[in-house]
Amino acid sequence: MRRRQFLGGMAGGLAVAPSRAAVDCGCAPLLGQALGQAPAAGVFDRVGTKVRVTKMKVFGVSLTPDSDRPYVFVKLETNQGVVGWGEATLEGKAGAVMACVNDFSEFIVGADPMQVEHHWQSMYVHSFYRAGPVMGSAISGIDQALWDIRGKILGMPVYKLLGGPVDPAGVRGYYHARAGSAEQLQALRQVAKLQGITAFKSGIPGYYEWIETNAKITRAVKAMQMLRENLGPEIDIGIDFHAKTSPSVAAILVKEVEALNLMFIEEPCPPENVKAMARIARRSTTPIATGERLVASYSCRELIEMGVVDILQPDINHVGGITALWKVGAMAEPSGISMAPHACEGPIGGLATVHVDAAMPNFLVQEICSGIQPETKEKVWEEWLGFPAMRMVNGRFPLPEKPGLGFELREEALAKYPFGGTRPMARVFHADGSVAEW
């Protein structure tokens, strides 16, 4: 490797270079030249706006000092006084994501925030290694903040910019069924009826080995049956396997519960091997959902192409923000695949998702990782935003009317919850000490 001389002021190309000496590894002929060219700040002047991002800030926010999933929020400031917020929370990897957001500072500070697709491409493509949850989450946070600014400057809520709403009454959602017994489930059914809630999600008990015993399989099946028996036929039920089952075990469980007509089984196995998931899906009529760990629309292509899933669940804080979630929805639609985005982090990502949901013709239902009763975190969200973000009204998340993502957030409001550092998420093990999925 040799260090290239920085050749300032060369015209004639669009390559954007950092304004300092760059290293030419020799892998790509002519790249050295591109690195030497003048920054393209003015290239888009005629067709862009005069709005510029002036500052990028990253906040680690721990609701409790030992939180295992601190929120990561991104704030962009502009020369027009308009600010944008986005969320880049990545469970268990807060520090890495905050560093990655900062790595993108040169991509964003000084840029025209309106051209979000261009910046998305630049962050993804010019990072060379593509995808990956850390980068995906960092891009997600920045992308959401850019959309927030775009909406505010253009004077419209984001869902209108995206061509929505499908339904002005709002976006159908589901809570998690926080109920462990038949009685609790029956009570939940009553409350749901009163509140207009139409769907719940739950999980299956315990951790699963590669092959499972009759006892464990029977217990899991009974748990699912209990949900249907006590929630009744009118409520749609999703069950999250959380990829803790192997394809062999999941296939049996998915088959056993066909008669329950579930809304979906989620992540019946880990997401890296599409063929393995396809083998589960094709032997059962139970709808299969997956997607919360996938980054960029590219990662959903094979699932869609092979007809593996009925429902895709990308997470707006990991997949690449509003831009990427919308693209996955567009890709899924011609294959008859519905969208039920994952949302288990903070309120910014949740609200951003609701905007995209409202504009997707193939949207099914929106998650929020909370129960029918507001939880502690939601009280904090309301304290920050001034309204009960991600609480449903009559079974739907209401659509914000304000431009952008539709909320104001002050930095001082976050100061009460300083970053407590990165913590690992739960680590669970089987009886013999071997590593288990949770």
């Binding site: 888009f44 051209q115 261009h118 209108k160 061509g163 929505g164 499908v166 639609e333 504009a359 013709p361």
Partner: protein, 358 residues
């Protein structure tokens, strides 16, 4: 269209059928108006009073901003959907005081690569047509295959295709680029032979080398050689494009702007992007659709080239009279228009002069 209070609700829809004096090319401009008085323009190949009546009913109560939703509602009038989509985005852009490409997350580029479809049978005719396009600023040309005499072609035909392309390249120089337009006229076997013969000519791509009757036939071409293939000008559904991509037969997809409008092509582009495949919308209509296509180009990452209809001087005058100079080409690229909406000012008074009188 029913009464409501939302100033963005669509109130009026009017169609203006036009005909170019020299080429005889027909297209219809659509004018959509909101309750608040914003007007947006779109373009479709043709329509009827009956379809317009249906569309007016279907649009009742829909705000201009809900352009994605409108697409579904208008499924009973598929011929009008693209035009209404363009007109809605034109309105939303005026409302937000932003060009359509900016509404949609662009600009992703500063200008849009352009291509002229040249015409002619004999090489001399092609050369004349190409020269005209070059003078208009074009550097990429779509060239029709010669007419066929028999169902299956022999060696002479294949040599003829190659010979014509070489004459064009020799005249235009090494920096000119070519698309060979099969217009679906060859059988798959002949298309594969032509495609193989031109592998080292480095066409940009071979467009519609054969009819897409089934993928087995099309795959014969793509599996035998590396000349890029383009398909899609007649396909009406985004699922058709998904099939082309998943069957590995298309190197570039060509949804027609007049069939799909801006929003639907954006959805097709999202699909194509995940296959590392580019989009080059097909376009053989009027200036409003050109404007729409250029906004689309600047809003997606995987745009490659926009076909700009080649027009006779008198036709160009007509286009400029009704829509201003939409197609400004320089050194092979079309200029983007940063004015709000589609940025096209329609001269309504002039429309009647060019009315298609059947």
């Amino acid at each position: 269209m029913a009464a409501g209070n939302d100033p963005l609700e669509l109130k009026e829809l009017r169609a203006f059928a036009l005909r170019e004096p020299v080429s005889g090319r027909r297209y219809t401009l659509l004018r959509l108006e909101t309750r608040g008085g914003l007007k947006g323009w779109g373009e479709c190949p043709e329509t009827t009073e009956r379809e317009l009546g249906q569309a007016r009913q279907l649009l009742a109560g829909i705000p201009a901003t809900a352009y994605e939703i409108t697409w579904r509602k208008l499924s009973p009038v598929p011929r009008l959907r693209a035009a209404i989509n363009m007109a809605q985005l034109d309105i939303v852009g005026q409302l937000a005081k932003a060009p359509v490409y900016q509404l949609l997350g662009g600009p992703t580029r500063t200008k849009a690569r352009a291509m002229a479809a040249i015409t002619g049978i004999a090489p001399a005719e092609l050369l004349t047509s190409m020269d005209k396009a070059r003078q208009a600023g074009h550097a990429a040309f779509s060239v029709p295959v010669p007419p066929t005499e028999w169902r299956n072609q022999g060696q002479a035909y294949i040599f003829n295709v190659r010979g014509r392309m070489e004459i064009l390249r020799k005249n235009a120089g090494p920096d000119a680029d070519f698309v060979l337009d099969g217009a679906g006229q060859l059988v798959a076997g002949d298309a594969a032979s032509v495609s193989a013969e031109l592998e080292r000519f480095h066409l940009l791509w071979f467009d519609e080398p054969c009819a897409v009757s089934n993928f087995g036939a099309v795959r014969k071409i793509s599996s035998e050689n590396v000349t890029p293939l383009g398909f899609g000008r007649w396909l009406g559904q985004s699922g058709d494009f998904q099939d082309l991509l998943r069957e590995e037969v298309a190197d570039i997809v060509r949804p027609a702007i007049a069939l799909h409008g801006i929003s639907q092509i954006r959805r097709i582009a999202a699909l194509a992007e995940s296959y590392y495949v580019a989009v080059a919308p097909y376009h053989d209509g009027g200036p409003v659709a050109t404007a729409a296509a250029l906004h689309l180009a600047a809003s997606i990452p995987n745009f490659f080239i926009q076909q700009i209809p080649a027009v006779a001087e008198q036709d160009k005058q007509m286009r400029n009279t009704i829509a201003g100079e939409v197609e400004r080409i320089k050194e092979g690229y079309a200029e983007l228009n940063p004015a709000p909406g589609l940025g096209v000012q329609i001269n309504e008074k002039a429309l009647d002069k060019f009315r298609d009188r059947g």
